[in-house]
């Protein structure tokens, strides 16, 4: 049996999947300073869960912000390519991918699972998951509850501040003024959807549109985004894992191609060591 692993070290979450035909094991955990240094530990957990030895993994691809901190990966590939690949596995007809990460957001135009253009915002927290974390905190609610709450609103509040820090103050004062919580949350999601859709529109958005990243589980945001874009926005079953799945599938492609060409794929030494530097 062939096994492929994808390791996606994002700015806030680390994701590992091991695949053969489908996903046989996956781990999602926070990217603390510790985890970033100890990508090997996360990998070990995934291997234990799948009951596999490290040597049995045919190929490992690392992706995400921290991909260079995965010394045991055979190849490093950016999240743009991995998301394109991962999304196409769930939605072969996908043409536009929106990925909202913990600290950045991206739009990717894809064609048969390959990226053909992209846009990125890594400069400002207001277009990322961090914006929701901070405003949820300020409102004293759980981030997971935001989506459902927002869907109950018929009159979303207008959040005029683009900057996360000022928006935090704005929601707190609006709450004090008596604006209903559901309207405030809906307003927050709308303002995030606004920012992201403005960025993504530069790509000449085409259907099917797919959203990935933890924020994709937020039904209120998905609705706000599809309203802004004027397209239905689909969500994969495990939106946090698409990058890691794409990475594993790319590994599979690399191995297959090498075999077709009668070569053996270039691989790194298989050892799960800690690394010294970030």
């Amino acid at each position: 049996m062939e096994y492929y692993a994808g390791v996606d070290i994002g700015s806030t979450m680390t994701k590992v999947v091991i695949m053969n035909k489908g996903i046989i094991s996956s781990i999602i955990g926070p990217t603390g300073p510790e985890q970033r240094r100890l990508a090997n530990k996360v990998m070990e957990k995934a291997l234990n869960k799948a009951d596999l030895a490290f040597e049995s993994i045919n190929y490992i691809v690392a992706t995400g912000y921290g991909r260079i901190n995965v010394p045991f990966a055979d190849k490093q590939v950016t999240e743009i390519t991995c998301h394109a690949k991962g999304v196409a596995d769930f939605f072969p007809e996908a043409k536009t991918v929106i990925d909202i990460g913990g600290q950045d957001s991206k739009g990717i135009k894809i064609d048969n699972g390959r990226p053909i253009d992209f846009v990125m915002n890594d400069k400002c927290a207001a277009g990322s998951g961090r914006y929701l974390e901070i405003t949820a905190d300020a409102l004293g609610i759980k981030i997971e509850d935001m989506g459902e709450l927002a869907l109950q609103s018929t009159n979303p509040a207008l959040i005029s501040n683009i900057c996360t820090i000022f928006a935090e103050q704005e929601v707190v004062s609006k709450l004090a003024e008596g604006v209903p919580l559901r309207d405030l949350v809906a307003g927050v999601l709308e303002s995030l959807a606004n920012r992201v859709s403005r960025m993504v529109k530069r790509l000449n958005v085409e259907e099917a549109v797919v959203i990935t990243g933890g924020v994709a589980k937020n039904a209120g945001l998905v609705k706000a985004l599809s309203d802004k874009l004027g397209y239905h926005v689909s969500v994969p079953p495990e939106p946090l894992l698409t990058g890691a799945v794409g990475a594993a599938l790319l590994g599979k492609d690399i191995v297959r191609k090498a075999i077709e060409n009668g070569e053996s794929p270039e691989r790194k030494e298989r050892s799960l060591k800690e690394i010294e530097i970030l």
Binding site: T78, T81, D111, N112, R114, I116, F118, M120, D122, R202
Partner: protein, 465 residues
């Protein structure tokens, strides 16, 4: 700047010897202005792309290009202390950072009565006059020197208004050109009168004519030299062009500038004959489609190179067009010739744009280079503090994608059959600043570049026709 960091930062590798010779040339030029000041020559603060280079040279006025000095501070990663100083004087950080750097520097020099400590390359000489050339959209060209006058109340300012007609697809510029030319000529004559008053000398129009001849010859030579970069592999990239722009922008109307491009032309032809490219294995040819560079991060061009990407062309600092393709009426008056050259440069792409619905001169310029230089992708840089050169870049990319799709592909139709189609070039927008290093993240920038290279790779693979 910390000594350690200075040591750590290696010299950037350039592809041409000509580009490598620029650093010492700029250093000598800046040193030269300080010496000229000591010798009692007249020094003028002024802006690049100002049209009157030859007028200054003909009057023996030594130009100090204030944008250049700020750029030097940025490239040496030593702009921060001047920016901070300007900020503490009450100037907003979101103003043009060249202007902020210059204002911080000037105030410091005036306060001390000498150059600020360890001023990059000896410092910026105190001017005898400041020439602001009001160009469309660039507010510092009007406001920078007015602000600087607070610290140098004895230094006069002369403003030269240099407009050009904005593009309208239903108005032809020939309908309004006489009005513009007349106005520009008046402005230039006004400048000559001002300079005559400042120097106590009369303009020698024969000398000026000779210098305008030299300037025009240099324009044509630059055009022909840069066009050599169409070769595959390209012998010179944008990283080098950010150096070789120096004689074009700061030394026009001098024999030294002309000779520099003679040398560059020869060097490029030799490299082409040897099939010697910027890099050995050229995989992707990119167009730097707009935006001033981050002067402190020019090594990013080398990073692109390390991934197999080269930049055979750029629109930034391509401040010349071939004179022989412009309308230049017969005249012996050098001032009139300067006015027509200015006008001809700005309307250069207008006719082409009118022929393609939805196009615009800036978009047409991109299209021409995409075709001439066999471009695979476009990179732009949005420098937050310069609105003049950066406004509309994203719009240009959007427009380009709408009207121009140069990549032929096969797409699977709903009926399951493959149909011929075409799509636009991938593009990358970098975000930072010209000299404000706090706006820059090397990790994020290189992450974007990596993703862009992968995108180019996947587009190349997918180019099925």
């Amino acid at each position: 700047m910390a000594e350690e960091e200075k040591k750590k930062r290696k010299k950037r590798r350039t592809a041409t010897k000509a580009a490598a010779s620029i650093g010492p040339m700029v250093k000598a030029a800046i040193g030269g202005t300080i010496k000229a000041k000591e010798e009692g020559k007249k020094i003028a603060y002024t802006f690049i792309v100002c049209l009157y280079d030859e007028i200054l040279r003909a009057m023996d006025i030594v130009p100090v290009w204030t944008e250049n000095y700020a750029g030097v501070c940025g490239a040496k990663r030593d702009a921060e202390r001047f920016l901070e100083r300007a900020e503490s004087l009450g100037f907003s950080r979101s103003l043009c950072t060249y202007a902020l750097c210059g204002l911080g520097f000037d105030q410091w020099r005036e306060e001390l009565g000498e150059m600020p400590p360890e001023a990059p390359w000896g410092g910026q000489a105190r001017p005898d006059m400041m020439l602001s050339s009001g160009q469309i959209l660039c507010d510092p060209r009007n406001k920078w020197y007015q602000a600087a006058q607070q610290f140098m109340p004895d230094v006069p300012i002369h403003n030269v208004d240099l407009p050009y007609p904005l593009y309208e697809d239903d108005i032809h510029f020939t309908d309004i050109q006489d009005y513009y030319i007349k106005h520009i000529i008046e402005e230039l004559r006004g400048l000559v009168t001002f300079l005559e008053k400042q120097t106590g000398k009369k303009m020698d129009y024969d000398r000026l004519s000779g210098l305008v001849d030299l300037g025009e010859k240099t324009w044509n030579l630059i055009h022909e030299t840069y066009e050599l970069r169409r070769a595959v592999p390209t012998p010179m990239g944008t990283g080098d062009a950010m150096n070789t722009m120096v004689p074009m922008t700061f030394m026009l109307g001098t024999q030294e500038a002309y000779d520099f491009y003679v040398g560059l032309n020869k060097e490029l032809k030799e490299k082409i004959a040897r099939k010697e490219g910027v890099i050995e294995n050229e995989k992707y040819r990119l167009l730097w489609g707009g935006g001033l560079p981050s002067w402190f991060a020019l090594a990013d061009f080398n990073y692109f190179n390390s991934k197999g990407a080269v930049f055979p062309a750029e629109t930034t600092y391509r401040m010349v067009q071939p004179i022989y393709h412009m309308y230049m009426p017969e005249t012996n008056d050098p001032i009139e010739r300067l006015a027509w050259r200015w006008f001809g440069y700005w309307v250069y792409w207008y006719d082409k744009a009118r022929k393609r619905p939805g196009s615009h001169p800036d978009v047409e310029w991109l299209i021409q280079y995409i075709e001439d230089y066999q471009i695979d992708g476009i990179v732009m840089h949005e420098a937050f503090s310069c609105r003049t050169w950066h406004l509309g870049l994203i719009w240009q990319l959007n427009q380009l994608a709408k009207i121009y799709k140069p990549i032929p592909v096969l797409v699977l139709g709903k009926d399951g059959r493959e149909n011929k189609a075409s799509r636009e070039l991938p593009s990358l927008v970098l975000e930072s600043d010209i000299i404000d290093i706090t706006s820059y993240s090397e990790v994020d920038t290189r992450n974007r570049i990596d993703a862009f290279i992968e995108t180019l790779e996947s587009v190349k693979k997918g180019k099925t026709i």
